[in-house]
């Protein structure tokens, strides 16, 4: 049994102009200690998927279908208080902007100790000692002197380290990291990724790494799910998705990324842009932009299917009939 299982998840936003379906039939699983990358462009639904898992969807967004199970236990229908106990203790979260994840009015040590005491029986002294130890683990120099410093006294990279310490404070089994390095400079990005990966390997924590940056995924993740317009377009081991993408969207996405040392005059581009939620095309959502579109794509929606390699792709090219046509 996988640590996290998401099955047929559907998230809708009720608005005056009708229901918008942000996530439509997303299924994924994360094994114990595994890093699953979730990649996609803005509006693909990757952050909403993360928020649905930790139960932090902002109204009017709500889960309207499917199941989320953590270690076999269903968590998408839990009451607010029971979910609160799971958040932090079993599922940690790291968000993009470390400044908004920390309370500016409290010292970082107090925030860490508060989290530790909320989820364990630790005494204030023990919690503080654990907080100092955590700050040291995430690479903050002289943690015993920095423990009472306020968030604004840290640089962006150091703040993100504090947020990682917060997420790891009570050894959760899963961390949802939503664009953890996007707000950071490139040289700091590498440090944070290495730190997150190293710590999770030590603690055996699984990570759901949500990002738009294929480079970060390529370095960090074991498996990748590529999202497009609220659905998973392709999923597979990171190497196979990066090197031999199967879905036309993933292919286009990989071709549009400038890569160092690859001499190309023009980047391959996917024309158009991701559809808005109120205008998702029928059939495969990617079909208006797809270079390999067939008649079937505009009518019938493909589910993830085997592609002959380790990847699974939601594309009719890989349907038993399609294979004959497109070789």
């Amino acid at each position: 049994m996988a640590l996290l299982e998401v099955e047929h998840l559907r998230v809708e936003f009720e608005t005056r102009r009708g229901n918008l379906i942000a996530i439509d039939d997303v299924s994924l699983a994360i094994e114990e200690g595994e890093v699953l990358g979730v990649v996609g462009e803005s509006g693909a639904g990757k952050s909403i998927t993360g928020m649905a898992i930790i139960g932090l969807l902002e109204p009017p967004g709500r889960v309207t279908g499917g199941e989320i199970r953590l270690a076999g236990r269903r968590i998408d229908n839990l009451a607010y208080d029971s979910m609160r106990r799971i958040r932090g203790k079993e599922i940690g979260a790291i968000f993009q902007d470390p400044l908004t994840s920390l309370n500016p009015l409290y010292g970082v040590g107090r925030q860490l100790a508060e989290t530790i005491m909320a989820h364990t029986d630790a005494s204030p002294t023990a919690a503080r000692a654990r907080a100092i130890q955590l700050l040291g683990e995430v690479g903050i120099p002289a943690p015993e002197r920095r423990i009472d410093a306020y968030p604004h006294e840290f640089s962006g990279g150091m703040r993100q380290r504090v947020v990682i310490a917060l997420a790891l404070a009570v050894n959760p089994r899963l961390i949802i990291a939503d664009e953890p390095t996007t707000a950071l400079d490139v040289s700091i990005q590498a440090q944070i990724i290495q730190l997150l990966k190293g710590l999770c390997r030590e603690h055996g924590t699984a990570i759901m790494l949500i990002t738009h940056d294929m480079g970060v995924i390529a370095e960090t993740a074991d498996r990748v799910a590529v999202m497009y317009a609220g659905r998973i377009a392709e999923v597979g081991p990171v190497r196979d998705v990066v090197k031999s993408a199967k879905h036309p969207y993933t292919k286009g996405l990989m071709g549009s990324i400038p890569i160092m040392g690859r001499e190309v005059e023009r980047l391959s581009q996917i024309d158009g842009s991701m559809p808005r939620l109120n205008a998702i095309p029928t059939g495969c959502a990617f079909n208006p932009r797809c270079p390999d579109g067939m008649a079937r794509c505009g009518v019938e929606r493909p589910d993830l299917m085997a592609t002959g390699g380790p990847n699974r792709a939601a594309c009719w090219l890989y349907a038993p009939l399609g294979v004959a046509v497109h070789g």
């Binding site: 462009e41 803005s42 640089s155 990279g157 150091m158 400079d185 490139v186 040289s187 700091i188 990005q189 590498a190 440090q191 990724i193 290495q194 738009h212 940056d213 294929m214 480079g215 970060v216 390529a218 370095e219 990171v238 190497r239 990066v242 090197k243 286009g252 996405l253 071709g255 549009s256 990324i257 400038p258 890569i259 160092m260 040392g261 690859r262 190309v264 005059e265 023009r266 980047l267 391959s268 581009q269 996917i270 024309d271 842009s273 991701m274």
Partner: protein, 334 residues
Amino acid sequence: MAEAGQPIVEVVGLARYFDVSKPWLARVLQGQPRLTLKAVDGIDFAIRRGETFSLVGESGCGKSTVARLIVGLHRPTRGHIRFDGVDLTALGTRAAQAPFRRRMQMIFQDPFASLNPRWRVRDIVAEPLRAFALVATGETVAGRVAELLTQVGLSANDGEKYPHEFSGGQRQRISIARALSGNPEFLVCDEPTSALDVSVQAQILNLMKDLQRRLGLTYLFISHNLAVIDHVSDRVGVMYLGRLCEVADAQSLFRRPRHPYTRLLLDTIPDLAMTGRARGPVAGEVPSPIAPPPGCAFHPRCPHAGERCRLEAPALLEHDGALIACHGVEEGRL
């Protein structure tokens, strides 16, 4: 007008300091000195006609300040900016600078902030035409706007819409159309694709390349993304804490980086080719530009720093066709 390959923009000893001290009363009461932030601290480079010159560096290194200095959004504290041989810093009045300003335009990072939400796209694109009195009648304005919008891949009818009706990539196309409307020769692009998704970024980068070829534009391109820089640039300047540490043509900079900071930056790029290359250990952070380290500003993070690096700021000197500011390279240690 200068020939191809001749410098169109020359920057000599350019510096810009910002006063970041607290207000006078607070300073007096707390006994604090004035604080100066040296955003750009004496840099020299030249951009040749028809090329793409890029500035790369981490946040706070001064690259955007250089862009703003060149287009005249900041006045330099010292130094000179020559455009097509004319020293802009010596031209006192705005009126005297105007003919040169028309020939350089800027594209900003955030297409949501750089377009006036209350203006129709046609007015946004036509503003430079009106400001520089480039066309006489309303009819020719409309024709020119339609032509510009088609040129950047939008439709001529899009002029009637407002910016909020467009996606980020389309808005950046509007910014480009506006920048092109004055028939500039030189475009300053400050992180033009950083706010965009990668597939849209590819569209914009391709568009900019096509326009450069068709209109013979010269670009100053600013970005923190080295892969993008590698893709678009002919020559690259690497900035660190307000100074240039390496200037070289793009090929040799990326194949054979010389300055330790350039090497560090290249090491931090995620490995998309999946070669299994281990990233070099990268330590430390960019120090505060208010109190930069003495000597070479990079020495606290540099694995090759010696005694001289702590004391003396290195000058930008030529080594094998590249300009490098490093004592190690100068002494032949690196």
